[in-house]
Each structure stands twice: as structure tokens, then as C-alpha cells.
């Protein structure tokens, strides 16, 4: 799954660069981390605790907790975090 940014009809903020397990990812200021990750094709964010099955963002409204990743060292719901320049996201271990 790769989310696609609208080709037109939507104004976006300045380009920002954040890092996912060290790799640079570009997004736009104003986007949530969960959406920016999807747009970069990063769909599996973590593994389920018992079965180790891949999981990704599901509700985008802060309810399901499936989008939790490590952001600058702390566990965060990525659908509730706005991307900013220099953010560091870790999936390693979680995925």
C-alpha cells in the first residue's frame, strides 16, 4: 500500500525531511507521520505482540494504537504526530 498525494486541488506546506531507521524520507509540513509513512510506501509499522504479524495504521484517529512507532526515542501514535524536519523514526525491532 502506498498512499498517493492528490495531484492537484490541495495545497501543501514546505518540504521536510525525516528519517526512518536512518533512511531519509521527504514529506510536507502539516502531514501526519502515519500519512507521510504511507505515502513513502512504509505500510508495516510494527509486529503484533503474540503472533508477530505485521500491522499498520488502521483508524487514523488515535483509537486503535496500531500506528505506534518510536519517534525521537519515545513511543508515539504516528497518526497523532505532525512531521517536522529532522524527526527520527525507528521501526527496527518493532517490525
Amino acid at each position: 500500500m502506498t498512499a498517493l498525494r492528490f495531484a492537484g486541488g490541495f495545497e501543501r506546506g514546505a518540504t521536510v525531511t525525516f528519517h526512518v531507521d536512518g533512511a531519509a524520507v521527504r514529506a510536507h509540513s502539516g502531514e501526519t507521520l502515519a500519512a507521510a509513512l504511507l505515502a513513502a510506501g512504509v505500510v508495516a509499522l510494527r509486529r503484533s505482540p503474540r503472533d508477530g504479524a505485521p500491522r499498520g495504521a488502521y483508524c487514523f484517529m488515535g483509537v486503535c494504537q496500531e500506528c505506534v512507532v518510536r519517534v525521537d526515542g519515545a513511543l508515539r501514535q504516528s497518526c497523532q504526530v505532525a512531521v517536522v524536519d529532522g524527526l527520527s523514526v525507528e521501526l527496527r525491532g518493532a517490525v
Binding site: 500500500m1 498512499a3 498517493l4 498525494r5 510536507h28 502531514e31 504511507l38 505500510v43 508495516a44 483508524c59
Partner: protein, 480 residues
């Protein structure tokens, strides 16, 4: 500095969707001091969600919801309502103390009256593969489309029931995306029966027909009376399988249809959150037409707990306009109960709002029927399907716990851990309760999870905020 700062008001309103915003405005116009809290950065709620700062819909592309949302936000800004955004309420206690995590740490608010307007969340009856990345809620898709300007995938299947189906599919098509299929639990007959009710909102009906035409023009296959029975793919959604269902959503045999797709947006209706009313131990009753457990209320939203009002889709699912009107009534009632509106004026103002709400009831009824809970779908879930995403609890494990004697939903939680994970049972609660009800007889006997703080998980660091040790008041030690 982030030591708790107490804020006092005549009324605290939690949730700034159409319901909460209307309640806050009505009460503040009547002279109450009102604090309006929402975890979102600006008012609007789900239906009128504003894109975050930095993103916006281009001027020529704005729809009616964008305008209604801007009007709502302008109304709040022009009023004397104290607006506090980015405030996630995690605890409500006493009569009443509200604690919220804000960008500057925890803040407490105190008021003798409280309006709960926290909205609904989505129901999804599980099927094999529903936990795979790439499967998202139908309502979740509206968030991506509306506030992020994104299409969920390169090729999407849109499935479930109710008006959001056509809305999501059409928005994807209009934005230039590909919809592999729309899979609708309802049949054309169900939609025809809903028409007279939906026609109470001619604007929305017109919008809906416009969506249907767009899907037709884009030649998107629409599978009526079908449900998704499986999502396949190694690490993520690659293929969605649909099958014919009966009027109750139960697979009834017949040929399977498979669609290559990297995204599935699916939802089976909305469930009133009713989180604050449950937390405060107000009385609730089970009402399938309202989406599930709903607080017992009078016509003005007054609950069984004195000073507590519940409004909008978080109390009973009815849609945006009924939510707004129910909020307005509760705001008026709060002002009247506080002695700020004399009886006669209160009755006069309330009468016209109640008449509006009555006109909407056929609309709400039609929407409610399309999105109603379908117990037969729960009955048809395959044994190895994961029910609780947080703890990977399957249907067969739940059945084992029931066989071992779990009789109500809280016992089930202790037997299986289903509902103990970080989502606090919001994702699995409806299904787990439905499974239990099949055995014990009714949803009433099964009950609902006991509400406990925190309402939403909050990182400890956020509660503490950033502070300087020097700012912490330390009492002078008593002389030895």
C-alpha cells in the same frame, strides 16, 4: 512550566464537532462561561475536520463540508467560548474535574456542568486478513482524503455499509485514484427504502447521487449485497475477496470475487463512544438503532448523573445535523439549569430546535438502519480469526472462555485479555460482546467494559510536561 493550572468555568464541553461546538455556543450566548476542549488542533470534529496547519484544500476544490467547517470555526472564534485545542482529555471525575494533556503538560478544568460530545468510532466485524497493513477503516479513509489530501492506495477496494461508502469511493475517483470495486452489504432495495428518510437532507441526497454518478462514469464495479470475506497477501493487503451475503450480512454461498488491491477501506457502521458517560457511571441502555450502548437521556441530553449532558454521535449515532441540534439543546438546557434562561424563554428556544430535530429523525433512522449492527455477521466469523488486535485473541479463544464460564464482557476480558490492550477494547468490544451475546442471550446481559481512566493512553512525559525543578513549590521545612 507545567504544574497543573486549574481553570474554572460554568460549563466544560468535551469535543468540538458539530455537537460540542453547538452546545458551547448556545450556552455561552446564554451567559455561561464555557471552556471547549478537543484533542484536535482546531474545532470541526470528524465531519468538518480542518486540514492541519500547512495543508489546505485549493480554493476551487472546496466542498460544502469545508465551508460548513469554516463557519463552525468562525462561530467559535467570534464567541466568548474559551477554546482549548490539542487538549486530550484523559480523566473526568467528581462533579466535575476534567484533566487534559495539552502541549504544556496536564491541565485541569473544573465546572459544575459537563457536556460530553466526543463522537463515534467505527465498527468492523473481523474477517481473515483484516489485521494486514493496507486494511484501514472507511472513516479512516475520509481522514486521509479530507485532511491529508491523500488517496489510501494505488488501487483500493471500498467496502462495508452506509453513506460513507459512496463518499469515499467517489472522492478517490475524483482525486484521480483507482477504485477496484465497491462492496456494499446493502442491496439496491435497502437504498430505495432509505431514500425517503435520506431525502430529509435534500442537499446530502443530491451529493450522494452525484457520487453514485461519478462511480458509474468511472465504471467502478459495485457489488451490492456482498461482503469482504478475506484479505490475502504476505506482509500486506494484495488481494481482497468478496462473496454474496444475505440481508443480515451473512455469507450465503455463491461465487467469490477477487480484486487485486493494495488498500481496503472498510467499515460496518459507527458505534457511539459514550466514554465519558460510562466513566462517570451514568445509566446506559442498548439501542441497536443508535449504534449500541447509549446513555439514558431526556430530550435535552441530560443524563442520569446530575449536571452531565451527552450529545451527538458519541451518545447516539444520527449524523452531523442531528448532532448539531442535540448539542444546541444541551447548551440551552445547561444554561437553563444554571438559572441563566427563564423557563419561558428556554421552552420557546428549545421548541424550535426540537422541531428541527424531529424533522431529522427520519434521516437519522435511515442512516442508522443502513449502518445497524448485524449480529449474524458476528455469528459467521471463522474460528481462527483474530478478534482483539492488541492481544491477538481469536474467536475460538473467546469461545473457550465462554465455555469456561465467562458470562459478561468484563469477565471475558479477565479470561482472555481481550480488551486489555492499548486500544482499551475500542476495536474488539463490539465483536467480543456480540459473540458473548450469542451464548448468553442478549447484549443487555453481556453489558459493556467498565469505563476507567485514562480515556486515551497518555505518555507519562506528556502528563508531566516540561518543567524546571526550581519552579516546583517546596514548602519550607518546619523548624526542627
Amino acid at each position: 512550566m507545567a504544574l497543573p493550572k486549574p481553570h474554572e468555568a460554568d460549563l466544560v464541553v468535551i469535543g468540538a464537532g458539530p455537537a460540542g461546538a453547538a452546545a458551547a455556543l448556545a450556552a455561552s450566548r446564554a451567559g455561561l462561561s464555557v471552556v471547549l476542549l478537543d484533542e484536535a488542533a482546531s474545532p470541526g470534529g470528524q465531519v468538518y475536520r480542518a486540514p492541519p496547519a500547512g495543508l489546505s484544500v485549493s480554493p476551487g476544490k472546496r466542498g460544502p463540508d469545508d465551508d460548513a467547517g469554516d463557519a463552525l470555526r468562525a462561530g467559535i472564534a467570534a464567541s466568548s467560548v474559551v477554546w482549548r485545542g490539542s487538549a486530550r482529555v484523559w480523566s473526568v471525575s467528581g462533579a466535575f474535574r476534567v484533566d487534559a494533556v495539552t502541549p504544556s503538560g496536564n491541565e485541569s478544568f473544573f465546572a459544575p456542568r459537563l457536556v460530553a460530545a466526543t463522537g463515534a468510532h467505527e465498527r468492523l466485524v473481523p474477517f481473515p486478513g483484516w489485521t494486514k497493513p493496507g486494511v484501514i477503516g472507511l472513516a479512516a479513509a475520509t481522514i486521509l482524503l479530507k485532511s491529508q489530501g491523500m488517496i489510501p492506495g494505488r488501487r483500493s477496494v471500498v467496502a462495508g455499509c452506509g453513506p460513507l461508502l459512496a463518499a469515499v469511493a467517489a472522492k478517490i475517483v475524483v482525486a484521480g485514484g483507482a477504485v477496484a470495486a465497491v462492496v456494499d452489504l446493502s442491496g439496491p432495495g435497502d437504498w430505495l427504502r432509505a431514500l425517503p428518510g435520506l431525502a430529509r437532507r435534500p442537499d446530502l441526497l443530491r451529493q450522494g447521487l452525484g457520487w453514485a454518478l461519478k462511480l458509474g462514469a468511472a465504471r467502478v464495479p459495485v457489488l451490492f449485497r456482498h461482503g469482504v470475506v478475506a484479505v490475502e497477501g504476505a506482509e500486506a493487503c494484495e488481494r481482497v475477496v468478496a462473496a454474496p451475503v444475505d440481508t443480515e450480512g451473512r455469507p450465503r454461498g455463491g461465487s467469490l470475487r477477487g480484486f487485486e488491491a493494495d488498500a481496503l477501506a472498510i467499515g460496518h457502521g459507527l458505534v457511539p463512544g459514550a466514554e465519558i458517560t460510562k466513566l462517570l457511571r451514568a445509566r446506559h441502555h442498548f439501542d441497536p438503532a443508535a449504534g449500541g450502548w447509549t446513555p439514558v437521556r431526556d430530550a435535552f441530553g441530560r443524563c442520569s448523573v446530575a449536571g452531565l449532558y451527552a450529545v451527538g454521535d458519541g451518545a447516539a449515532v444520527a449524523g452531523a445535523e442531528p448532532a448539531r441540534l442535540s448539542g444546541q439543546l444541551a447548551g440551552l438546557a445547561a444554561a437553563h439549569d444554571a438559572g441563566r434562561i427563564p423557563l419561558e424563554a428556554f421552552e420557546r428556544e428549545a421548541a424550535s430546535v426540537r422541531a428541527g430535530l424531529a424533522r431529522m429523525s427520519a434521516f437519522a433512522g435511515a442512516v442508522g438502519r443502513l449502518m445497524r449492527p448485524r449480529p449474524a455477521m458476528v455469528e459467521a466469523i471463522a474460528p481462527e480469526t483474530v478478534i482483539c488486535r492488541c492481544e491477538d485473541v481469536t474467536r475460538s479463544e473467546i469461545e473457550t472462555a465462554i465455555a469456561e464460564g465467562a458470562r459478561d464482557i468484563n469477565q471475558l476480558k479477565h479470561f482472555t485479555r481481550c480488551g486489555m490492550g492499548p486500544c482499551q477494547g475500542r476495536m474488539c468490544g463490539e465483536t467480543a460482546a456480540g459473540l458473548l451475546a450469542l451464548q448468553v442471550g442478549s447484549r443487555e446481559e453481556v453489558g459493556y467494559w467498565t469505563g476507567r481512566p485514562p480515556l486515551r493512553p497518555v505518555p507519562l512525559a506528556d502528563l508531566l510536561g516540561r518543567f524546571d525543578y526550581g519552579d516546583i513549590p517546596v514548602p519550607t521545612p518546619a523548624p526542627l
